[in-house]
């Protein structure tokens, strides 16, 4: 796959700023570095906007449930800002995208890309790993050796894995 066309996000080196056209914002920070960024964002939001800041260790079910509830109650003009490790940002972004939030309404700052979530299409389990793209990781669900492919699903917020030795004669 040509690098030009990969779906692996390129986060850019500049941290985004709050959208000046936002009327209400939810800032979600993951980990200490992510929360430092959301604190800085909160200070940058122009006066008169409703701002809520959430702090979490990682994108666990509890924080994703809060995110889902906030989206359900939001009005157009609302913006989501996510800061933290890529795995958590992708997981939270996936929840938002599935709920109908647009890319134009989400801004992300990624503090590290070491951790990944890898989706196994053979057993449909998502595995946490620190393997690099094109590396391998065992699947938590079925134990297959997964090749970490240079494809990120926006909807699942995870890298695609596939059976590394599928073509080899057993």
């Amino acid at each position: 796959m040509g690098a030009e066309h990969t779906s692996v996000p390129r986060w850019g080196t500049e941290r985004p700023a709050p959208d000046p056209s936002a009327r209400a914002l939810l800032l979600v920070g993951f980990g200490a570095r992510g929360c430092a960024i959301t604190t800085a964002w909160a200070a940058d939001v122009p006066a008169g906007r409703a701002v809520e800041v959430l702090a979490a260790d990682d994108a666990d079910e509890a924080v994703l449930a809060v995110l889902t509830a906030r989206i359900a109650g939001a009005r157009v003009g609302w913006r989501l800002m996510l800061a933290g490790p890529e795995a958590d940002v992708l997981a939270a972004r996936a929840v938002a995208l599935r709920a109908g939030v647009l890319d134009a309404e989400i801004r992300c700052a990624v503090t590290s890309t070491e951790r990944k979530r890898v989706y196994c299409p053979h057993c449909r389990t998502t595995t946490a790993t620190t393997a690099p793209v094109a590396g391998e990781t065992p699947c938590d669900g079925c134990g297959r050796r997964l090749h970490v492919y240079a494809h990120v699903s926006r909807r699942a917020g995870a890298y695609l894995g596939f059976m590394a030795d599928a073509e080899e004669v057993a």
Binding site: V76, L102, A104
Partner: protein
């Protein structure tokens, strides 16, 4: 493709030959045509908000289909008579039952967004026609929607059928200030996931776009259908260089790039010839296009690698096309 073919041939495949089955003038100045295939039979289905490009004498005009888009044997269009127009609407208003017209197949450029949580439809005057299609489709497919309709007092096209169709989801206004206040109130408080669609006079579209932006709506949630491009100036002369043949085609002031290409024997598919439909897009290799169409997005304009040759021209003296 050969140079001897008339340039329009490429776009003429799939032409519909339609007979006028009924004519209704329920509101003064607005004529509703019911069209059926001359030989009978089903017509192509279409996404809500689609239009036909109809041959109107020496003009080709785009008219919105007002049905819900599901397969049917009839199309309906409603056309406002524009006495100062270029004659397309006058042609329609001269049609009688039994007359035969030719038109393109339905073209979709204003479809509802399938992932929207709620559809806010805003119509001004005859701009109700694509919104009637949207409302019918929304009812049929049980989508959440509302329609704000501003019209001249006593001249609300389709008002009775809209009341039956929409019930309390319709708010109709005979006064512009009331209409604009209602639009602003709606844009100020709608669930995230709402998309707004507007069709009507240019000032209404501008009001919706500006108010939405002011209230924090990203442009991706705002959809506008314009009647036509504004009157355009004749433009500066330039030269089109055709990269594949090396031909140079001069484009004088007052002649469109599309016409110049056609005169040079280059067939370019085209339909509306007024910067709306998107059919005549040609790829640009070098030179800066002067975009004057209503079709390309801001990002596409900025990329500068395509030009709608019916209305757009060139900033530079020479524009190199991938033709």
């Amino acid at each position: 493709m050969t140079a001897t073919l008339p340039a329009r041939t490429a776009a003429r495949t799939g032409v519909l030959v339609l007979a006028v089955a009924a004519v209704a003038d329920d509101v003064p100045g607005i004529r509703t045509l019911t069209l059926r295939r001359s030989e009978g039979g089903p017509l192509p289905a279409y996404p809500a908000g689609s239009h036909l490009v109809m041959d109107c004498g020496d003009r080709r005009n785009a008219y919105s289909l007002t049905g819900d888009g599901s397969p049917a044997e009839e199309y309906r269009v409603s056309v406002l008579l524009c006495p100062d127009g270029d004659g397309g609407s006058a042609f329609v208003h001269r049609l009688a039952v039994g007359d035969v017209v030719t038109a393109s197949r339905p073209r979709s450029a204003f479809a509802p967004v399938s992932t929207a949580r709620h559809h806010l439809l805003v119509a001004g005057g005859i701009g109700i026609t694509p919104m009637l299609s949207h409302a019918r489709a929304a009812v049929r497919w049980k989508r959440s929607f509302e329609l704000l309709y501003g019209h001249r007092p006593g001249a609300g096209a389709h008002l009775d059928e809209l009341r039956d169709l929409c019930g309390d989801r319709l708010a109709a206004y005979g006064s512009t200030p009331e209409m604009l206040a209602a639009v602003r109130a709606a844009l100020a408080d709608r669930p995230l996931g709402t998309h707004v669609y507007v069709c009507g006079p240019a000032p209404l579209i501008a009001f919706v776009e500006e108010t939405a932006a002011e209230l924090g709506w990203p442009a991706e949630r705002v959809h506008a259908e314009r009647f036509s491009a504004a009157d355009l100036d004749p433009g500066e002369p330039f030269t089109a260089r055709l990269a594949r043949s090396g031909t140079r085609v001069p484009v004088p002031s007052g002649t469109s790039l599309l016409s110049a290409l056609e005169e040079a024997g280059v067939a370019v598919p085209n339909l509306c010839r007024q910067g709306v439909c998107g059919e005549c897009r040609v790829p640009v290799r070098s030179g800066r296009p002067l975009h004057r169409d209503l079709y390309l997005s801001e990002a596409e304009r900025a990329a500068g690698d395509a030009v709608m040759c019916c209305v757009s021209r060139s900033v530079d003296d020479e524009l190199e096309l991938d033709l």
